[in-house]
């Protein structure tokens, strides 16, 4: 076992300066948008829903409609039921969803709104609306958007799943990854000829191809009928090594319905994709298809080409725990030893998971949980980081310290194409690796002549 005391952790201070995470209901919005026919309503003040729309619009470049119960001062005293009912009337009428997710905000939670009772009462007075309403408690102060994502996915499964006959359709539960990565995971599943229920599936709903009539609720997403049959699956593959047990959808299915859980890391990096492919091969009884072997070969070939450049990199890795865990793996595999590993989440299992991976490194990275960018920036500069790996929040690493950032994860607000960032599978890993290596090379080539002259020639002359 790794000696965890060797990990150099940084204590977080009182104030959070430059946030590395977003709020709990935001993750819930993304998860709900991956369910077929779903619309989302945020029970709270108007601003919350608008901000969450904005955050998603800027990442996905898609309209992301989120309704609000628009609570005002009066309702914080009298209770929000009247507004909630009104909001339900309006949103059901205009959007005609088949499923409506309701996320609470810190305001509604602090008011102590009894969501279950209010929804039950609404359903009773509207017996023929034909819409599933699923509330999830997501107070902003209860966790980060990662926890909101898991909690919502779990709640959706808990709502629909019921005991059913065994079948061959496996369950696949993904964390908050790009639509492009979901499509890649589906492609790999397809190689093994397996039927599956992947949840939540934002690959079509939050990355719409152009053409045809505009849809308020885009087609795509995981179908409730499929979700209801998840308990009959032979196995659940969940990419959720860092998911807290209490929020784990896969663990829920295992504990409630006895569906075997194979909890894997995100399939980014050779080892991680190998684990995924091996699991599929074992579950399906099929050999690894030739195409995947080829793609693995191209990845290894690319790693050989890039390893010396990568070894010059001193990465600072940050973001959602599941992504950070996978990225730590791929950086170490490629000889780019991380100097800072950080997540805004206080609840992840990151420290324990990363421990064994970093115990052999020459230099122990700084590990920060519940991180903000002030602490990440400080650690990165102290450790002489040369490249950032993560979302837009790291932009000050570049602006202030000249440390370039390879963008990956959520949110990407200062570049186009957050929804298309492709990093999963062997092919995606290679695509990520090229982006990472080229970021290092661009930085190196933009300054090395100057630097060498400064370092060496000026000494002779001077």
């Amino acid at each position: 076992m790794a000696n965890h005391t060797a990990i150099n952790t940084l204590r977080v201070k009182e104030v959070n300066e430059n946030q590395c995470h977003m709020c709990m209901p935001l993750g819930g919005v993304i998860a709900f948008k991956g369910i077929e026919g779903a619309m989302v309503l945020v029970h709270g003040s108007q601003g919350c829903s608008t901000y969450m729309r904005l955050a998603n619009v800027e990442h996905f470049h898609e309209p992301v409609d989120v309704a609000s119960s628009s609570l005002n001062e009066k309702q914080t005293i009298l209770g929000g039921e009247k507004n909630l009912n009104k909001a339900l009337d309006n949103v059901l009428r205009v959007y005609q969803p088949t499923m409506l997710g309701i996320l609470t905000t810190c305001l509604a939670e602090t008011m102590g709104e009894d969501m279950d009772r209010m929804i039950k009462s609404y359903m009773q007075s509207h017996p023929s609306i034909g819409v599933d309403i699923i509330p999830v408690a997501t107070p902003s102060y209860g966790g980060t958007h990662s926890e909101g994502f898991w909690a919502t996915t779990r709640a959706v499964i808990a709502h629909y799943a019921k005991p059913c006959e065994s079948h061959n359709r496996i369950n696949v539960i993904v964390p908050n990854i790009s639509p492009a990565d979901i499509r890649e995971i589906k492609r790999i599943l397809g190689f093994f000829g397996m039927e599956y229920t992947l949840i939540p599936d934002i690959s079509m709903t939050l990355d719409r191809p152009y053409g045809g009539r505009y849809q308020k609720i885009p087609t795509g997403g995981t179908s409730p009928a499929d979700i209801s049959r998840m308990p009959g699956a032979p196995v659940t593959i969940q990419f959720g090594k860092t998911c807290p047990d209490a929020l784990s959808p896969g663990l829920f299915l295992e504990q409630q319905f006895g569906v075997r859980l194979v909890n894997l890391p995100l399939p980014i990096g050779v080892d991680n994709v190998d684990q995924f492919v091996a699991a599929l091969s074992s579950i399906s009884g099929q050999p690894v298809p030739e195409q995947l072997t080829l793609e693995r070969g191209w990845l290894l070939d690319g790693m050989a080409d890039a390893h010396k450049y990568n070894a010059e990199g001193r990465p600072v890795i940050y973001g959602e725990p599941e992504m950070v865990y996978a990225l730590t793996g791929i950086c170490i595999e490629n000889g780019a030893e991380p100097v800072v590993i950080a997540s805004g989440s206080p609840h992840s299992k990151l420290k324990d998971l990363v421990g064994p991976m970093i115990s052999d490194l020459a230099e122990q990275p700084v590990l920060i949980e519940e991180a903000d960018f002030a602490s990440i920036e400080h650690a990165a500069v102290s450790a002489g980081a040369t490249i950032g790996v993560g979302h837009t929040g790291g932009k000050f690493l570049t602006e202030r310290h000249g440390i370039p950032v390879t963008r990956i994860g959520y949110p990407i607000h200062d570049r186009i194409g957050g929804q298309r960032i492709f990093s999963a599978g062997y092919a995606g890993t290679l695509a990520f690796l090229d982006r990472f290596t080229n970021t290092l090379l661009e930085k190196k080539y933009s300054s090395y002549r100057e630097k060498k002259k400064e370092e060496m020639f000026n000494h002779i002359r001077g």
Binding site: V15, S45, L54, A87, L88, C106, R213, Y214
Partner: protein
């Protein structure tokens, strides 16, 4: 084939309770409803009180902006504006007390006090603004008292901004909270005298894409100095000199009329509304400012500048007008000030404005807007995506001006888009801004991409 609206059949796109918030010029005799709270479930494009306060105060460059609440409110407004700074970059940092469950249960005052001590000791800012959020208002933290204590402890201004989101679904209420904070900041301490100067204050100017600097260059050229802008590229020290000005010019009236009125009451500084969006508006504003000073030299220099700049940009804009004449435009923005300026600019480019709306327009502002528009134009207060979609398609709009959320919807419908929001990066003010604006409208309205997109949805 026309591309259909995605509204389900039998739905008008408008929720019946929203009827009075939408008028068609020439047809409706009734006045538009624009003081209502956002309707629950209508998917309003509006934000909240906190957002209003944050966008007004955020460009004060050397202050610390500390959001007292759970993490969401801070993270969504981190570096939200395109305001540029000539010096300090402190305003681009996002500080939050990051309240957790135990703080909500036991009260957040101790954490706020600790955070204040921490940031003030670390950065020695000249002032800290403390924004209250929904939860803070709910649990009743006395931020006024905590700020007062911290202010005494550290000898700097620690100013509470009472911006709990739920106070209203209207940013205007947040503008007021920010305005009150500004007045607190600039009020001289007892015995302190701010000397009167011939400089002016520039209110409702946020230095997006360097706009304040451009207008300041014009003013300097004609012999007028800017004391301080509220709040683009301002510092705490500069704002404290505000009472020494002889004139306030007010650009964004929604955020700053209240401040201008109070500066007049407390310090006897008169104000005038100005507008630097569009060449004609810019020329008119410069003339009126020059006239206020009444100095023949200033007036002469203003005319020289206007003549020179108009001669320079008129042919360029005429080139764009040729391409844009007859195109149909929609506008959906935060405030009426911007809507009015945009209507004029779009019309100057030969375009017809067929839809106009705002998040925070007032009754008299909507009357001004309606007066500028031809009959049959749709005017909407507090719109939502369903309405915007419907009106863009019904009115066969070619290009829309608005914010980020409207942008992606317009693109989905195969319609051009111009960002006129608070995080934009382009300078759209002054004579140069008028050219940039015309170019922005042209490159999107006349882009070759729409040809392929429209073919793929079976449209024209």
């Amino acid at each position: 084939m026309e591309h259909d609206c995605s509204l389900a059949s039998g739905s008008s796109g408008c929720i019946s309770e929203r009827q009075n918030s939408i008028i068609t010029t020439g047809k409706n005799k009734s006045r538009i409803h624009c003081a209502d709270d956002s309707l629950a479930g209508a998917v309003s494009q509006r934000a909240c009180v906190f957002c209003g306060a944050r966008v007004v105060l955020n460009p004060i460059t050397d202050a610390i902006h500390l959001v007292h609440g759970p993490i969401g409110c801070a993270t969504y407004t981190w570096d939200i504006r395109g305001s540029l700074s000539s010096d300090s970059e402190m305003y681009r940092h996002s500080f939050s007390t990051d309240l957790k469950e135990k703080d909500v249960v036991f009260g957040g005052e101790p954490k706020l006090a600790a955070c204040l001590d921490e940031v003030i000791s670390k950065y020695h800012p000249p002032a800290v603004f403390v924004y209250s959020t929904c939860v803070v208002g709910m649990i009743g933290d006395d931020i006024i008292a905590v700020c007062k204590d911290a202010s005494e402890r550290h000898g700097i201004d620690v100013i509470p901004v009472e911006s709990s989101g739920f106070l209203s679904g209207n940013k205007i209420v947040g503008y007021r909270a920010a305005a009150e904070a500004i007045m607190k900041l600039i009020r001289p301490k007892p015995g302190e005298v701010i000397e009167k100067t011939r400089k002016l204050n520039f209110l409702g100017e946020y230095n997006l894409g360097g706009e304040k600097w451009l207008i300041e260059r014009y003013l300097n050229e004609i012999g007028i100095e800017v004391n301080v802008a509220f709040t683009g590229d301002s510092t705490v020290a500069a704002l404290k000199q505000a009472p020494g000005s002889c004139l306030n010019i007010v650009q964004c009236t929604g955020s700053m009329h209240w401040v201008a009125n109070n500066l007049e009451k407390e310090y006897g500084i008169p104000y005038m509304d100005v507008n630097f969006f569009g060449a004609e508006n810019t020329a008119d504003s410069l003339r009126r400012i020059a006239a206020f000073y009444g100095d023949p030299e200033i007036i002469r220099k203003a005319e020289v500048l206007i003549e020179r700049e108009l001669a320079r940009i008129t042919p360029i804009i005429a080139g764009y007008r040729k391409k844009l004449t007859g195109k149909r435009a929609a506008i959906y923005v935060g405030g009426a000030f911007k809507a009015v300026a945009l209507i004029r600019q779009m019309k100057d480019l030969g375009m017809e404005v067929v839809v106009t709306g705002t998040q925070t327009g007032k009754q008299e502002e909507y009357e001004t807007i309606s007066g500028l528009l031809s009959e049959g134009t749709i005017v909407v207060d507090d719109a939502n995506p369903a309405e915007i979609e419907k009106f863009l398609l019904d009115m066969k709009v070619d290009v829309m001006a608005g914010g980020v959320k409207e942008r992606v919807l317009a693109y989905k419908l195969g319609i051009g888009f111009v960002d006129h929001n608070h995080d934009r990066k382009e300078c759209l003010a002054g004579f140069d801004g008028a050219v940039t604006f015309a170019r922005e409208v042209y490159i999107t309205t006349c882009s070759p991409v729409w040809k392929h997109l429209k073919e793929s949805i079976g449209g024209v």
